[in-house]
């Protein structure tokens, strides 16, 4: 994970569901440890949240102030459309479920990379954010910003009203401290140590509310790289060797709308909305983050979550899986309309899910064999007959990146005739068992995967591939074991998806610098000089138009090499929610991945609670009369290619 492909560089960037699932599985495995920890009476006798004043350091020495250069052209953004609804009202409690309790509340260091971390990080605002519909820069902690001509420095003016949750003002020193903190060896986070040393050079302070962040070198989309979050120096003070243990369960002051108010280890975490949050009237935060309380309860089984949801112990439930949307939804509370459903299409970066062929395997050295393999994968049948036509065919690994995506590439379709032609051309013949063979070689390859839910899809692919004369041996491994096997390039074919980032990342996956060695993300061992040249050009270019053109070219090249067989994409979210939860119109944004995300500073907190509707619904439930089923389909942001 240290090379930053599975772990998004910006912790707030969109997360791929597979990545979450991997983490969840990992956490389940480790939940045994939690139980062990719970048994220790000295671990935490007082289970209430510790106060935020746990460690108030003496006021740190003031950092030197420099003089602001002349001629800075300040920019801001108060003209982009708002996306929250003015009808939203405050109040209510949202109940959500966690598959396992986090191992720590730290966001850096050992065991911190859990799915729960985003709940904490989302309440930690950055200097600036990205508008979820226009993708332009919008203010968060900084109200104004400016680019320097050196293309690696950005100036920021902080919002003077910005406050930490303990009342301290947010100052430029807190950003300088972020670098000290992230570079400290005491946090035991080599990836962060490295990132904050190599990518960000320094923070320059001009006064308490004006600063500049300097990247190590000119990079495209500079604001994505250096819009760092502050770290409360008054809270951490001097770090020591005991950091990892001492801060496991500390509640760190934050700048977002919610803060953890109390928790019970292994059971639940409660977040409360701040009474007078400093940013609640800001243009892009207004009418958002409406619920008073958000409670995360541990429910260690997905099926059980569904049962809890139907019993009103959870407020929302994700219905992305076809079985839930089509079959399990045929239940009383939905038929009677106490629970409503929404199918919301988004237009966001799609995870590169599919089959990754290891080119270092002798069998895949021949491009014709790779093409034949792709033509033997009956993805359409899986979509139509297993996934109920709900998923869409992923045409290539980088869809949904706007200009950076090549709309002309089409994935190779299931075609027995083409398999026949390609294999015969490559000198193979069908053996007595119907499988292609050449000499003592047989076209039987191992497919490594980890998610149990995917077995059904692979079983159908396997049956269809047999028709094409290719034998797939399915190998399901535990998520971490599968991940390790693939990163060590010991697989024939890996069935997996990568998380996404705002712009496509090619160097990690397709550059020869990462081929033929373990622990890199070039799991296909792609080693192609032309590809290297394209990727280098893409990485070195600072011009958005040129980068987009190169990106489209690289995607063509990936298609031509044929080591990646794209499978599915899910360009939407489907959720069920109790009737008293309201959503704006449109229900989310172009990049929304969860309509009931309570915290995300970019897309979260748009929903609200309607107490009247709750009374009305509960009365109806008592009288056993229904409202009729409600399914809302919102295709405002449906991908143009799917219309």
């Amino acid at each position: 994970m240290k090379n930053g492909a599975v772990m998004p560089i910006n912790p707030k960037s969109t997360k791929d569901p597979d990545f979450k699932a991997i983490l969840i599985f990992f956490l389940i495995a480790l939940s045994l440890l939690i139980t062990a920890c719970d048994g220790d009476p000295s671990a935490d006798p007082d289970r209430r949240a510790e106060t935020e004043t746990a460690k108030v350091a003496a006021s740190p020495a003031r950092r030197p102030r420099q003089t602001l250069p002349e001629g800075i052209v300040w920019q801001t953004n108060d003209t982009d459309p708002v996306f929250a609804s003015p009808e939203a009202v405050r109040g209510g409690t949202l109940h959500e479920a966690l598959l396992s309790f986090p191992l720590t509340f730290r966001t850096v260091g050992p065991d911190s990379n859990s799915s729960f971390r985003s709940a904490i990080l989302d309440n930690q605002l950055s200097l600036v954010g990205i508008h979820p519909n226009t993708e332009k820069i919008i203010p968060e902690l900084a109200t104004h910003w400016a680019f320097d001509d050196d293309r690696r420095t950005m100036y920021f003016k902080l919002d003077k009203r910005a406050r930490w949750s303990d009342g301290h003002p947010v100052t430029a020193d807190d950003f300088a401290y972020t670098l000290d903190f992230m570079r400290s060896e005491h946090i035991v986070a080599p990836w962060y140590n490295d990132y904050y040393s190599r990518e960000i050079e320094r923070v320059i302070i001009y006064d308490d509310h004006t600063l500049a962040v300097v990247a190590a070198r000119p990079v495209p989309d500079l604001h994505l790289r250096i819009a760092i979050a502050p770290t409360p120096e008054h809270f951490y003070g001097q770090l020591g060797d005991d950091f990892v243990m001492a801060y496991n369960w500390k509640i760190v002051p934050n700048t977002g709308a919610y803060q953890i108010s109390d928790f019970e280890k292994g059971r639940r975490v409660r977040f409360k909305r701040k009474a007078n949050w400093w940013a609640e009237d800001r243009r892009y935060f207004k009418h958002r983050f409406n619920v008073d309380t958000v409670v995360f309860t541990v429910v260690r089984d997905f099926n059980l979550m569904w049962e809890y949801f139907k019993k009103r112990r959870l407020d929302t439930f994700a219905l992305n899986l076809p079985a839930y949307w089509h079959v399990k939804s045929k239940t009383d509370v939905i038929e009677k309309g106490y629970v409503e459903r929404i199918w919301f299409f988004n237009d966001t970066q799609q995870s590169a899910q599919g089959l990754w062929l290891n080119l270092d395997r002798e069998i895949f050295a021949d491009r014709r064999v790779r093409y034949a393999f792709a033509h033997a994968m009956n993805i359409e049948k899986v979509i139509d007959q297993v996934l109920r036509g709900d998923f869409y065919r992923l045409e290539h690994g980088f869809m949904g990146y706007g200009d950076y995506s090549n709309p002309d590439i089409r994935a190779r379709r299931f075609d027995l005739g083409k398999v026949e032609a390609l294999m015969t051309d490559a000198g193979w013949q069908r053996g007595t068992d119907g499988i292609w063979a050449r000499g003592d070689q047989r076209f039987a390859v191992e497919v490594t995967y980890s998610l149990e839910e995917h077995t059904a899809r692979l079983v159908v692919l396997r049956e269809e591939a047999r028709k094409a004369g290719i034998e797939l041996e399915l190998r399901r491994l535990d998520a971490t074991a599968a991940y390790k096997k693939v990163l060590e390039k010991k697989h024939d074919v890996a069935w997996m998806g990568w998380s996404t980032s705002l712009r496509p990342q090619y160097w990690e996956h397709f550059h020869s610098a990462n081929a033929h060695k373990p622990q890199t993300n070039n799991i296909t061992n792609t080693d192609d000089p032309q590809m290297d040249r394209l990727i280098d050009a893409y990485r070195n270019s600072l011009d958005a138009g040129q980068r987009a053109a190169l990106s489209r070219q690289i995607q063509e090249k990936i298609h031509e090499i044929g080591a990646f067989v794209p499978t599915f994409m899910v360009p939407y979210v489907r959720q069920a929610y109790w009737r008293w939860w309201c959503l704006p119109d449109p229900a989310g944004t172009r990049h929304t991945g969860d309509l009931f995300d309570p915290f995300s500073s970019a897309t979260g907190g748009l929903f609200w609670y309607d107490a009247e509707r709750r009374t009305e619904t509960e009365a109806a439930m008592k009288g056993d009369h229904g409202f009729g089923p409600v399914t809302r389909i919102d295709d405002t942001y449906k991908m143009p290619s799917l219309r």
Partner: protein
Amino acid sequence: MPRFQLNPLTRRKIRRFRSIRRGWWSLVIFTFMMVAALAAELWVNDRALVVRYQENFYFPTYGAPLPGTTFGLDYAYETDYRDLSRRFTAAGEGNWVLMPPVPYGPYSTDLRDDLFPPFAPDWHQRHFFGTDTVGRDVLARLVYGFRIAIFFSLGLLVVNYAIGVSLGCAMGYFGGRFDLFFQRLIEIWSNVPFLYVIIIISSIAVPNFWILVLIMAIFGWIGITWTMRTVTYKERERDYVLAARVLGASHGRIILRHILPNTVAVIVTYAPFSVSSGIVALTSLDYLGFGLPPPTPSWGELLAQGWTYMSAWWIVASVVGAMVVTLVAVTFIGEAVREALDPKLYTTYE
């Protein structure tokens, strides 16, 4: 020609066993299930039993797959016999296909347009127990899963008993430091939480049938060792053993020819219960997803599906029903064996 003659004591035990009707009928049913499972290809299979095509007979059940071209179809992969049967019937040229009673294999998916599995039991489609969530026939998965489970557990039994019985005998017979050493070793060994170890091992490397047997045997031999040790201790002090030693018999001969036959009753009594625990162990590992790799037919996997799709009652009902029948049958057999071999039966206290 010498006639095979059982000794009268054994005959009496068999008579006694047969007289316990519950156990006897369980054995009959269980034997029938084993034979049926062994011949599963003949009655649960997606390959036809007989195909009559252009004056020729084909028997595709065993052997290499016949490509569709054999029967004048336009594809080179294995013939879809259900489809072939429909075509022949429609064409009416005197060709015919005889399918097994359950025309589905454990791997074949029966998917239909506009309908989505799991499908409920359907007499007409010959899905007698319905299909699972991928559209595979539940009965076919049950039968082939049973075959794997029962041979897994018999294989496990053989390996466990081979280790456990020989070590237990040796400990009981030699006693002394040898015994002490292995007692301590077993105590330590038996404190290793074996299920976790198996889960850890099989999450790193996907085990195949024999590797899984071996992994489970690493921890499975302990139980019988204790029993054998105790029994041997008792037998060792009997006069016939001393007599054999006086006659100059070697240790090996004494253990194998004299002691072991006298402890066979114990081994036989324990065996059926070991079989059922083997089946349960494999099923639970498969349920947790750490057993044999998918898509191997397995009861545990069906059970997991049943839990995920509670509304598809036929999945969970079939597999629970099959488990109940099997485990009850094995347990009844075990009880009857124990009763038949019970030495107390022949002792009279007057």
